[in-house]
Each structure stands twice: as C-alpha cells, then as structure tokens.
C-alpha cells in the first residue's frame, strides 16, 4: 500500500493492529488520548479487545494479566500515567511478560505540561519502578519511525519476554506525517505454552504454569536476578540501534540527540555545513540498550573537539553520553524542559559558543 497522511497517535494504534496485537487497555491522558479514541473504533472492527480502565494503575495490571495468560497486548499513555503504571512494569519485568508500552512524553515533573518533552528519559531507561529491571526502550523521530518501532516492539518483547517501551513525545503523537505500513513486519505471537497461564487444556498439559515475581529465599532471588541481567546484557549485544548523520566529515562537534530534538539537530548540522562548519550526530534509536560504543568511537575522531547532548529535558541522557565518551572529550549538555522546543538558531549559538 502507498503512503497515507496520519496523525502520530492514530498511526501508532494502527501499527499495533498491523503488527498482530489485538488487545489494548488504556486510560485517557493528553497528549495521547487519540490512540484510545482511534482503537475504540478500530479494535471492534478487527475482533480485538479495547478496554478503558479506571486508572493507569489498573491498566498496568490488566496488561500484566493479559500478557501473563499469553496474549499479545499493549498500551499507550503519557508521563504521569507511566508513573502510575510503573508498579505493574516492575512486576511485569520480574514475571518476564512481553508487553509493549508507548509513552508519548509530556513535560514534568508533577502535572508539568501537555507539550512535547523528553523528561522521562531516566524513568524509561533507569527504571521508574522498584527493583533491578530494564526496559528495551526505542525512541522514534518521525511518525513513520514510530510505526516501524511499534511493529518491531512486539516480536522483541516476545524474544526477551520483557516489556518494551516506545518513548515518543507530544510532537510525534500530535503531528501528521505521511506513513506507510510495512506488511513484512507483521509477526505471529510466539508460542508461550512453556510459561503462560493459558489454561492446561489449551496447551494439552497437566502441569500448571505460574506467573509470579516473589522469591522468598535469597538464593532463588539471586538466581532470578542473574537470569534477568543476562537478558539485559544480551540486549546490549544484539539490540543497539542508532542512526549516524554527517559522520564521514571532519566534524568538530558531535551531537547526541534523539526523537523530535534530533530533527532540529539535523537542520543545525545542515545549516552549519552551509557555513563551512562541520558537525555530526549520533541519534540513538534505542535508549536502552544505549549506543555507547558508536558514541565513544565517534567522539574519538581526531577532528572532534566536543560532544553535546541535546535534549528536551534538563540534562538526563547527558549522563549516558558522559559514560560512553569516558572522559576522552569534554561533554556538554543543552536543552529545554519541553514545550518550548529549541530552534536551530538557538542550538547553533550554543555550539558556536564553544569555538
């Protein structure tokens, strides 16, 4: 099929259906309520499940139940809603259930604002809930990429039996862009008979399955966490995704930026190039696992004097950039809290201030 013009939020809903996910639980919150509105119409058309829960706390646990019994399931929410779901996300991670979460991030903390932000970077990549767990986190920079990431998220969640989070922002959710739905990304849900509570009759077994997160003995808890860590380590080996931009030049500054902010940075790089000043960008497409090695290597280029983490928050990803660069180049942060997206001119002024 050809390209159609769609609002980000609606495209995300449609992408999930096309990926073979017919179960959606959600609670309304700006700026992503259009996903729920869209799916309240679409899910009945495709014989799927749509349910508006009474709170994000409940929704998180509905996802836990549904995924626990083997269903492919997802939700969309925005920052304060994800905070409430974080209880369930911790349990879901421990119980190793595949669930896809989409966070259309708004400004915070507290009620914050309803405009685009990347202030949930820490929450998504370092764990918003309790305990040692990681989400596989992907950050789209366009509606098309949001569609592709949503469609990729389901098989990835099942591969690792782990929640996957798409970290978008209000701009990705609200803007309309041409999108094409790639048919080849549709996958059948994996066989979950060895762990899911799908009923003994369903899997023709006499052995009960148990979905749980309680390990009262120190040895068993240790063993469980070691298994989880091995999964996160494997993600670091196999799932790092990033997009380099203008990286083959003798750039003097390396920008690290993701999502909506990275689009502004592309313009910055193009504008500076026209002036004869080369800069480059590594755009992380996965925030966990983080593209540590590509950033380290790009920073080490002889021409590169500084590394800049440019974010729609008050300086979160910059900690991972510093960790990646390992002190080989000075690392600076520039950003705004969200809502007010920095213009290319503002970013150019910041870069020039270092030279």
């Amino acid at each position: 099929m050809g390209k159609i013009l769609m609002k980000g939020n609606e495209a995300i809903g449609e992408a999930a259906i096309r990926a073979g996910c017919l179960n959606y639980f959600a609670y309304p919150i700006t700026p992503q309520s259009e996903v729920a509105e869209y799916l309240s119409r679409r899910m009945p058309e495709v014989g799927g499940v749509f349910l508006q829960g009474e709170s994000e706390i409940a929704v998180g646990n509905m996802l836990f139940g549904a995924a626990g019994c083997g269903a492919r399931v997802f939700t969309t929410s925005s920052s304060p809603g994800i905070s409430l779901m974080s209880e369930a996300i911790s349990y879901i991670s421990s119980a190793q259930c595949p669930v896809v979460f989409v966070n259309i991030v708004r400004g915070g903390p507290g009620l914050g604002g309803i405009l685009p932000s990347q202030a949930d970077y820490f929450q998504a990549t370092k764990g918003g809930g309790h305990g040692d767990y990681r989400l596989l986190v992907m950050a789209p920079a366009s509606v098309q990429e949001a569609v592709e990431m949503v469609m990729t998220a389901f098989p990835l969640a099942e591969k690792y039996r782990n929640p996957v989070m798409i970290l978008g922002d209000g701009l990705i959710g609200q803007m309309m862009e041409p999108v094409e739905f790639p048919e080849h990304l549709r996958t059948e849900p994996s066989n979950k008979d060895d762990w899911a509570t799908n009923g003994m009759d369903t899997r023709k077994s006499n052995k009960p399955n148990l979905v749980k997160s309680l390990f009262l003995s120190a040895e068993l808890l240790e063993e469980h966490n070691v298994i989880l860590k091995a999964k996160y380590d494997r993600m670091k080996q196999e799932e790092v995704r990033y997009e380099p931009y203008n990286i083959d030049t003798d750039y003097q500054a390396l920008i690290v930026s993701f999502g909506t902010m990275s689009r502004v940075c592309r313009t910055v790089i193009d504008d500076l190039k026209a002036e004869g000043f080369e800069t480059a960008m590594i755009r992380p497409q996965t925030l966990f696992p983080f593209p540590e090695e590509p950033i380290k290597q790009a920073a080490l280029k002889e021409s590169c004097k500084i590394v800049l983490s440019i974010e729609l928050n008050m300086g979160q990803m910059v900690e991972d950039v510093e960790r990646s660069v390992q002190g080989t180049r000075p690392v600076h942060w520039y950003g705004k809290a969200g809502g007010d997206v920095p213009t290319p001119e503002e970013v150019i002024d910041v870069i020039k201030s270092f030279f």
Binding site: N61, M62, C69, L210
Partner: protein
C-alpha cells in the same frame, strides 16, 4: 472398600504455611472441591493476592498468576477480556481487597467483569503481623490500633458485600462463613453458584468468607471461632446480597 473422602484433584500435596486454626485451609479446600465438581481445572486460572494467600499457587494444581497488592481484579480483568473461555478467580484478603485494592474491585465489579472473587475477611492484615484493616471491628485491638479501633478517627469497618451490592451490574454477591460445619456447607453451595454463574457467562460474582486469624487475634483456634461468631457475625451479616434477577434463590 470405596474411598468416600479424598483430597480434591485441584489441591496439591504440599502442606500449607498457614498458622494452626487458620481458615484459609478450609476455603482452599472448598475452592478445589468446586473446581473438581465442575470439571474446570484445565481451564482455570487463579490469582493470588499479596497477603497470607500469596503462596496459594503452591496448594492448587492449575494455572496461577501472582498479583501486586490489591490489583488482582485488574489482573483478572486482563485475563478474562483476552481469554473469555478461561475460568478466572481472584483470592483476596481484606487488606488487599478492601484497602489498597478498593478501586480495582469496585470498577471490576461495576464493569461486570466475568470472573469470581473469593474475599477472605478476618478483620486484620495477617501476613504483615496483624495490623488494622478497613474491616477491623470497632474497639478491636491490633498492632496499629493498640487501644482498639477508634471509629472517631478511622471510621466504621467497611462492609464489602453491602457496598458492592449497591452497584447495579454485579451478578452475585454473598457473605458466607467458614466457622462451623453448618456454615461451611452453605459457603460451598454459594461458591459453587458463583463459579457456575461464571461458566454460564454471567457477570461478576463475589463470595465473602468470614474467617479467623487466631495468631493475630491472640486467641486459640477454638476461641477465635467463638470470637468471630460473637463479634463478626452481628456486624457482617451472612446472606445473599445480590443474585441474578432471573435465577431463583435457594
């Protein structure tokens, strides 16, 4: 010679961690008997709460999920919505259901989710060591109400069966007891009805069980039963609070 009394197939061989005299064992057995009699073990999913029954899955021989504190009704909703053919029940205590999980139970009941809730009311938080629950009786001493529940400060005990039966949607709400054989026989009948309603595709059902907690009440099992009869039954009145309109009460 034919065996006339045996362990239900739905119960495992493990001995339980419950304290001597605790009534969870009776309720577990009733659940297992009903599941056997209805022949639904192969398509049943139980949901364990946070509380004394968190390890309930060790004692049954069918699929189980373990919920976060109070969230069992949301978890059951998730399962039942995506797999309506499964038989789903939550097993929850009074701290879990009537305190932290009040929102989840009311909305699941009001949406008419087609699962069954087994609500064990023993007026205290058992697992954490006998703290005050929303169901703790007026004047009852607990580790967090050492001078007795002061209703001026924390209100009167919550009556879950009455509260939920004020909703229009739920199909079947009943309060039973497991204090003596006569109550247990009635309780099993009620429990079987609740599961049968679910099998028939009727909406939400809840069976509240008046239970004991000898350990945290500081009583012997026999004293605990007497205390429950004398103090709980006058306040938490037994009976059918809501039945489906087109089904005769027995």
């Amino acid at each position: 010679m034919a065996k006339t009394f045996k362990k239900p197939e739905a119960l495992s061989d493990q001995s339980t961690h419950y304290c001597p005299g605790c009534t969870h064992g009776i309720i577990h057995r009733l659940v297992a008997e009903v599941i056997d009699e209805l022949g639904i073990r192969g398509r049943t999913v139980g949901i364990a709460p946070v509380g004394c029954a968190v390890l309930a899955y060790n004692y049954f021989t069918f699929d189980f999920q373990e919920a976060a504190h109070g969230r069992a009704p949301a978890m059951a909703t998730g399962i039942k919505r995506v797999r309506p053919d499964l038989i789903v029940f939550t097993y929850q205590g009074d701290g879990d259901l009537a305190s932290i999980g009040m929102g989840e139970i009311i909305h699941a009941a009001n949406r008419g989710e087609k699962f069954t809730t087994i609500f064990v009311n023993n007026t205290v938080y058992g697992m954490t060591g006998g703290q005050m629950a929303p169901t703790t009786l007026q004047g009852q001493r607990t580790t967090t109400s050492p001078a007795g529940r002061n209703v001026e400060e924390v209100g009167m005990p919550v009556k879950i069966a009455e509260l939920l039966s004020a909703l229009e949607t739920p199909a079947y709400i009943t309060r039973q007891a497991v204090l003596k054989p006569k109550y247990i026989v009635r309780a099993k009948k009620a429990l079987k009805k609740a599961f049968q309603y679910q099998i028939d595709g009727r909406c939400f059902s809840l069976v509240e069980f008046i239970s004991t907690c000898p350990t945290n009440w500081g009583l012997t099992p026999v004293e605990a039963i007497k205390w429950a009869e004398d103090n709980m039954l006058p306040y938490f009145k037994l009976g059918e609070y809501k039945t489906p309109d087109d089904v005769e009460e027995d």
